[in-house]
């Protein structure tokens, strides 16, 4: 019971509390406390020191343990820097948005945990829709027109997408027609156990609907536009949350149905769909990197690209599947650093346009160095973790039945790297014409510390490769019936 | 002589004789609803009588079509009326597939009316003809989808058998029939140029559809046009009433009662529609007709798949 309280109950209670309590410091303190207890408990659960016992509709398996840890890790660091971020927002209009910031953050944590912990498709759906509801007002934090438009598009597109996922869930019920599952509840575990007897046609239809519907939330092309708009216009901590954990939560739904389908004859079909979607989204990122002039948007497209890589790994299977799970972990950490440092740059230059940011390296060296390091991390430069996970995915692809796709993937990734590098180095090094003579030196801020810690974690996980993580991912692949 | 032929002749005579009365009732009810006293119920008869006695004058540049068309129009409508079953009596003309003849003999009547309208070369009449054709194009599918769906369901292809196959014992069939009757009602409104589609009492040629086509006719020709108009309205009314045939299975008396009640109800509905709605804009009329078609299609779909 205590774990249910910490994971879902406490954030919910705090959300209600924050609605009535106006004081920012109290709100921040309590939210941080909830985040801290969340990360502690999810780490305990992950390391196997604590056996969680959740009520009906909820449950824990290897996959949800991993994703829960990703969520609470991202959330904790984001909460930690939120207060300093709120103290000096970029735009004056954002004052109004502050009032509900922590309330929505708590609601976000509760709904995301509920989605990850759910063991029932209906419950997952309700919680996933709730995550959209919690994050949509946060996108509108700046209270300007772009943010409003982004919020509307995100809310609308994702709601429609989620409605599609609901159709998929209903079709899944149909697939159980005439099997022992008929008339029973939609628990993941039951469906995985009886996957062999499900009606393949309905299973395929269900997979398509759920994948297409949730891809609005994951950011898989061609449904990525709402997601990209939202990520690029949200404040930095929220963008970090969305890229780091919200997309993963949505991916969980696709992985659940993939888990069911992986034991049936429709697996090939699902793989084709996953690989197509993944390549499309990498291609979308590849194309847009050529003509982008907004660095937040560039990062959003980078998220599209990396979720594409993860989906590709899931689709290819085998070693690439394990690589994709590692990639999910590393990507979530690197994205937090990238977005937080980009937020610093945004605050300094008051613009998201690449052309307006000149010689950032001299005016704000600390942020710039961290930004550059995070860029190197996300591009897969050793010794950062993403290098290893991408290597695993490449290796998995090489020994799978689709080695030719590797050429295509490498080509795309190379150009994405070149273009991102071009943009980022022009921001850092290019001299502007009207520079202030002596820019005031940059002070230490909490998000620098957080960025450094996260980069260290990113490297440390990769270098030491903890057994727990390795074992957990092995467990997940076993659950999916994949031999490494 | 066969009893069936006598019954057929009687029902045909009933149709022809009662048709003006029905129009009179509609007009009377409409007048009542708008707060006027209105013309007497028998007014259509008086008008027909007046027109009958008058001399026919044709435009000097009119061809044989103008002289030929009113009679053809009248005869075609009479033939259509002869195919219509009243109650459980077999109509005079009844064979397998007569619904197609029924639809197209009315189409023939309309065709010659349109030709005659264009024959004189008056711009107003040409405009009316163009409108009539446009709306007829959209009205035709309504009939086929509605009557056709019942035909499809019952497997019969003559009006008599189709109406005989209607039974109201299960609820979904009942809803089906009710929806059919809605689209037939919309069809009647269109074909007989009643209110939401066409305003029979308008005084401006620009807004007319049907009335503008017979502007140049007079005397006996006009009598024929008017009379065939009354009969046409009554034909559609009977089409509508026949949906409720099964209620009158017991005896002729019950059937007659039902016939009268439903006829009154329809007259009331027509009058009501003309009182509370205004005429649609010309460009919205095809949508209205398409809606009726959609209902017909829905009927067909739903009834096919409930089997």
């Amino acid at each position: 019971m205590i774990e249910f309280l910490v994971f879902i109950g406490l954030p919910l209670l705090l959300a209600v509390f924050c609605y009535f309590m106006q004081d920012m410091i109290v709100q921040f303190g309590l939210t941080l406390l909830a985040a801290f207890s969340h990360i502690c408990l999810s780490a305990l659960v992950f390391f196997g020191f604590y056996e969680a016992n959740l009520p009906v509709f909820f449950g824990l398996d290897a996959l949800s343990k991993l994703f829960l840890l990703i969520l609470s890790n991202v959330y904790f660091w984001v909460t930690l820097v939120s207060y300093s971020y709120l103290k000096k927002p970029v735009m004056p209009k954002a004052e109004e948005g502050k009032k509900f910031y922590f309330m929505l953050l708590n609601f976000y944590l509760a709904s995301n945990s509920a989605a990850i912990l759910s063991s029932h498709f209906g419950m997952y759906w309700v919680a996933a829709e709730a995550t959209t509801l919690s994050v949509a007002p946060l996108i509108y934090f700046y209270r300007n027109e772009e943010a409003l438009e982004a919020m509307w598009k995100y809310l609308f597109l994702v709601s429609v997408g989620i409605a599609f996922a609901f159709i998929g869930i209903l079709l899944l019920t149909l697939s159980a027609e005439g099997t022992p599952l008929e008339g029973r509840q939609l628990f993941f575990a039951d469906f995985v156990k009886n996957a062999g007897v499900l009606n393949p046609i309905w299973l395929k239809a269900s997979f398509i609907f759920i994948f297409v519907g949730l891809s609005t939330k994951i950011g898989i092309a061609p449904m990525h536009s709402g997601d990209v708009d939202a990520t690029s216009n949200a404040p930095a901590p929220i963008a970090a949350l969305m890229s780091g954990s919200l997309r993963i939560t949505a991916l969980l739904g696709v992985m659940r149905i993939l888990q069911i389908i992986s034991g049936t004859s429709c697996y090939e079909f699902a793989r084709v769909i996953l690989i197509t979607g993944a390549l499309l989204s990498i291609f979308a990122a590849f194309v847009s990197m050529f003509r982008i002039n907004n660095y937040k948007r560039m990062l959003a497209y980078s998220s599209v690209e990396h979720l594409g890589i993860i989906t590709l790994g899931l689709g290819v299977g085998g070693l690439a599947f394990a690589g994709a799970l590692f990639h999910a972990v590393y990507n979530s950490i690197a994205k937090v650093v990238l977005f937080l440092t980009a937020g610093n740059i945004h605050r300094r230059y008051k613009s998201r346009q690449v052309d307006h940011v000149k010689s950032a390296l001299t005016s704000m060296p600390k942020t710039s160095w961290l930004f550059m390091l995070a860029f190197l991390a996300i591009s897969g430069i050793p010794p950062f973790g993403i290098f290893f996970s991408e290597l695993k995915i490449f290796e998995g692809m090489l020994f799978s039945d689709v080695p030719a796709l590797l050429v295509l993937l490498m080509f795309f990734l190379l150009f994405i790297f070149i273009n991102m590098g071009r943009i980022i180095f022009s921001m850092l090094y290019k001299k502007g014409s009207d520079e202030p003579a002596l820019p005031e030196p940059e002070r230490w801020e909490s998000n620098h510390a957080v960025a450094i810690i996260l980069l260290i974690i990113l490297t440390a996980i990769a270098v030491f490769s903890p057994d727990v993580l390795y074992q957990n991912i092995i467990d997940i692949t076993k659950d999916f019936g994949i031999r490494l | 002589m066969d009893i069936e032929i006598i019954q057929g002749i009687i029902s045909l005579l009933l149709l022809i004789l009662l048709a003006p009365l029905f129009s009179g009732v509609v007009n009377k009810l409409k007048a009542k609803m708008t707060g006027r006293i209105g013309a007497p119920v028998l007014q259509p008869y008086y008008e027909l009588k007046r027109l009958f006695r008058k001399e026919t004058i044709n435009a000097s540049n009119s061809s044989f079509i103008s002289r030929f068309s009113p009679i053809l129009n009248f005869v075609a409508v009479i033939i259509a009326a002869a195919m219509l079953p009243v109650g459980f009596w077999k109509p005079l003309i009844s064979f397998n597939g007569d619904i197609i003849l029924f639809a197209y003999i009315l189409g023939l009547a309309r065709f010659f009316q349109i030709l005659a309208a264009m024959d004189i070369g008056s711009s107003f009449e040409g405009m009316g003809a163009a409108r009539e054709v446009t709306f007829a194009l959209f009205a035709e599918p309504i009939f086929f989808f509605t009557i056709g769906s019942i035909a499809f369901v019952s497997g019969a292809a003559s009006l008599y058998e189709i109406y005989h196959s209607i039974h109201l014992d299960n609820i979904s069939y009942m809803v089906f029939v009710v929806i059919c009757s809605i689209s037939i009602f919309m069809l009647a409104v269109t074909e007989c140029s009643r209110m939401p589609v066409d305003d029979p009492n308008t005084h401006l040629e620009l807004t007319m559809i049907h009335e503008v086509m017979i502007l140049d006719n007079s005397g006996f020709d006009l009598f024929l046009y008017q009379y065939s108009g009354y009969i046409k309205l009554f034909i559609y009314t009977v089409l509508e009433i026949s949906f409720f045939n099964p209620f009158g299975k017991e005896s002729y008396l019950v059937y007659a009662g039902i016939f009268i009640v439903i006829a009154f109800a329809l007259a009331f509905l027509l009058g009501m529609a003309e009182t509370i709605t205004s005429r649609y804009r010309m460009k919205n009329i095809p949508q209205y007709l398409l809606f009726a078609t959609a209902i017909g299609i829905l009927n067909l779909l739903i009834f096919t798949f409930t089997q």
Binding site: G122, M123, E149, W152 | V175, Y288, F305
Partner: protein, 210 residues
């Protein structure tokens, strides 16, 4: 009875694709809510249980009272013109709807030969989903998009009854609550859009591009 209600549901879909008045759209939302509530309440005539009546009553309250009232309020507050502005000709829209419906019914019929489903509610629900999507694509006003979304949700609901899936009550209520909050948030967003943009149509939302 299910078939009858589905037919009425389809009729409301035809009406919504025909009418050009926002009021008509709201009336359709109301009537669809009533149809769905009756559909769920109907079995309880024979076998009454307090527990089972909760969801139909919630639907009645949310879909028939709260949401239409809320949308009406938005329309009044924002002074939205009562005319729905289509981006394509009505004469193309209605045939499109009819054609899609025919396709859906035929497809459902073919499917029903393989799997045991109720053809009419299944196809009606699916048609509502498609019509809702069409409304979102082919209409300019954002408030109409919200109505299109709700029609789609209604369709999913009908569809759900057709596949005879019984979700637990808690989740069923959660779904309803989610939909309600979505509409609520959309309403707030519309208010803001009204005050910061010139109008409330899709054409105004073109700032975010690559």
């Amino acid at each position: 009875m299910e078939n009858v209600l589905s037919i009425l549901f389809c009729l409301s879909l035809f009406y919504v694709s025909l009418t050009l008045r926002v009021k008509g759209y709201i009336a359709v939302l109301r009537s669809q809510g009533i149809i769905l509530a009756i559909l769920l309440l109907y079995p309880f005539i024979y076998d009454f249980s307090v527990y089972g009546v909760i969801i139909p009553l919630t639907i009645l309250i949310i879909k028939v009272f709260f949401i239409p009232r809320y949308i009406n309020k938005i329309i009044l507050d924002l002074d939205i013109k009562r005319q729905v502005e289509p981006t394509i000709q009505q004469m193309t829209f209605l045939p499109l709807v009819i054609a899609s419906m025919i396709l859906i019914f035929l497809a459902t019929h073919i499917i029903s030969l393989i799997t045991k489903i109720d053809v009419i509610p299944f196809a009606s629900g699916f048609s509502a989903i498609v019509v809702g999507i069409y409304i979102m694509i082919f209409r300019k006003k954002l408030i109409v998009h919200v109505v299109g979304f709700l029609i789609m949700e209604n369709g999913i609901f009908l569809f759900g009854t057709a596949v005879a899936s019984e979700l637990p009550m808690m989740i069923e209520l959660g779904v309803l609550l989610d939909v309600f909050v979505v509409v609520f948030l959309m309403g707030i967003a519309l208010n803001k859009i009204r005050s910061s943009f010139e109008g409330i149509e899709v054409t105004q939302l073109g700032r975010l591009k690559d």
